[in-house]
Amino acid sequence: MVRLRNLFAVVMLFGIYSLLSAALFVALDAVDVAFTEAAVGAGISTILMLATLALTNARERSVTRRRALALAICTVTGLVLVSAMVDLPVFGALEAPAHAHVVPRYLLDSYREIGVPNVVTSVLASYRGYDTLGEVTVIFTAGLGVLCVLGAGREPPADDREDG
């Protein structure tokens, strides 16, 4: 088991992990998700975590007390997730529920109804337009909330600014 206390290295590993996940998504033909993962996971969140590191310490404080309860909760949750994974349909299986319900209609009729070759776009923006409106609202309110917590709405005093 590898344990890192240098948080800078942890952030970098996180970015590499995201980039590898993006490559995995490309391999699974989910290019839209791969775009997002590469730009958000490897790019922006790495920058934000580095900006946070600049405000705090770059080394994790060593924890002497072992937390038995936390370990137990993690183990139980992990076991539940693994046992749920057993029931998942095989990847790409035609009879999987995700491919059975409305998907045939989207794949067969969306070009005639929407006229957009990319089915992902027509599902996301047209068939599921309500969901996407909700998602955009969530992004907006989440950004607003983070900025409120950080207190970023206030203009800094003019002499407090420094260049670069």
Partner: protein, 138 residues
């Protein structure tokens, strides 16, 4: 980062293609992979790269914090506004088919507009978060 010459030159070369690629992903999302979310984060990442390498103050000159705040709300308003427009045109909320003379053309128009709204909000929120984190002093 004034002394990192390689970084500055590489960033200068990379930022225009990143922004152009974001616009391509935005407006070609109907035909290829991509769409508003992806274009928004790519555009935001390009701007943030500029801010990281050339300083937040230079980025603030290009995209002032007030503009970012207005744009992040304007994207949601544009999306919801398309819904209201389709209501006023006699259809259901967010039913883009009624926006133009024939349904397929209306769907195209509606999808392009809502994707533009998504991209605007996402990129503005990303840049706004960057401003929020960098405005803090330890």
């Amino acid at each position: 980062m004034e002394h990192h010459l390689v970084l500055r030159v590489a960033a200068k070369l990379l930022i225009p293609p990143i922004l152009l690629f974001a616009l391509y992903v935005q407006f070609h999302g109907d035909f290829g992979p991509g769409g508003g979310f992806q274009a928004g984060v790519i555009f935001g990442a390009g701007c943030i790269l500029y801010g990281v390498v050339f300083g937040v103050d230079n980025l603030q000159r290009v995209v002032p914090a007030g503009v970012v705040r207005v744009l992040s709300a304007a994207g949601v308003l544009l999306y919801a506004g398309v819904g209201v427009w389709s209501l006023l045109s006699g259809g259901n909320y967010l039913d883009y088919g009624v926006l133009a003379a024939d349904r397929v053309h209306g769907q195209h128009l509606g999808i392009m507009l809502v994707e533009l709204g998504v991209g605007t909000t996402v990129s503005a929120v990303m840049i706004g978060l960057f401003y929020g984190f960098t405005s803090l002093r330890p």
